[in-house]
Symmetry: C2
Subunit: 105 residues, 2 copies
């Protein structure tokens, strides 16, 4: 099992609405994440909208993302979330996989 | 069990040395963390030195930190790490506990 850390950023002026939607993630989206091997998955937010994600998976972030990208529900979810992304910042500028440098079980 | 996320920052010009020290964390420091209830603890780094920490603990970040602060080895470890902290940034400006807003088991 590998541990994955990543970050991205959402619009600071829409944080509350963004968090609200994450209290009601569609059951079929949760099922798709489970089926794609996203385990013990948590999202954390800094007050300015910077987000840190942590999950555990068998293979890699790329593989876990590719499995989600192949699902129809993920396409709908990303559209549902697109309004919260900063139009002035390209997602690939804020989406960064982070390097694990220490672990204690 | 609670999931804790936090960030802080180290000097970008000394990242490699900082990571090297984390390949050789003192066994007594690891023992102290375990005894203080730091479980499944991982540290991740962004290329500019921003660090994201994740761990699981019974009570809270404050309680887990207080237990470590009471140990002699932690005082020595923090001194051992102080050279990597940015002198222009107060640790309490970069140390931020992050808010969990989503979890999937």
């Amino acid at each position: 099992m590998k541990r994955i850390g990543f970050q991205f950023k959402v619009r600071q002026d829409r944080i509350e609405e963004y968090k609200e939607r994450h209290k009601q993630v569609w059951p079929e989206m949760l099922d798709a994440l489970r089926a794609a091997g996203w385990h013990n998955y948590t999202l954390f937010m800094r007050p300015d909208g910077l987000i840190f994600g942590y999950f555990e998976t068998e293979e890699s972030l790329e593989a876990a993302q590719a499995k989600m990208a192949a699902t129809e529900v993920n396409t709908r979810w990303q559209e549902h979330m697109s309004a919260f992304m900063d139009a002035n910042t390209r997602p690939d500028e804020t989406f960064v996989e982070l390097e694990e440098y220490f672990h204690l079980d």
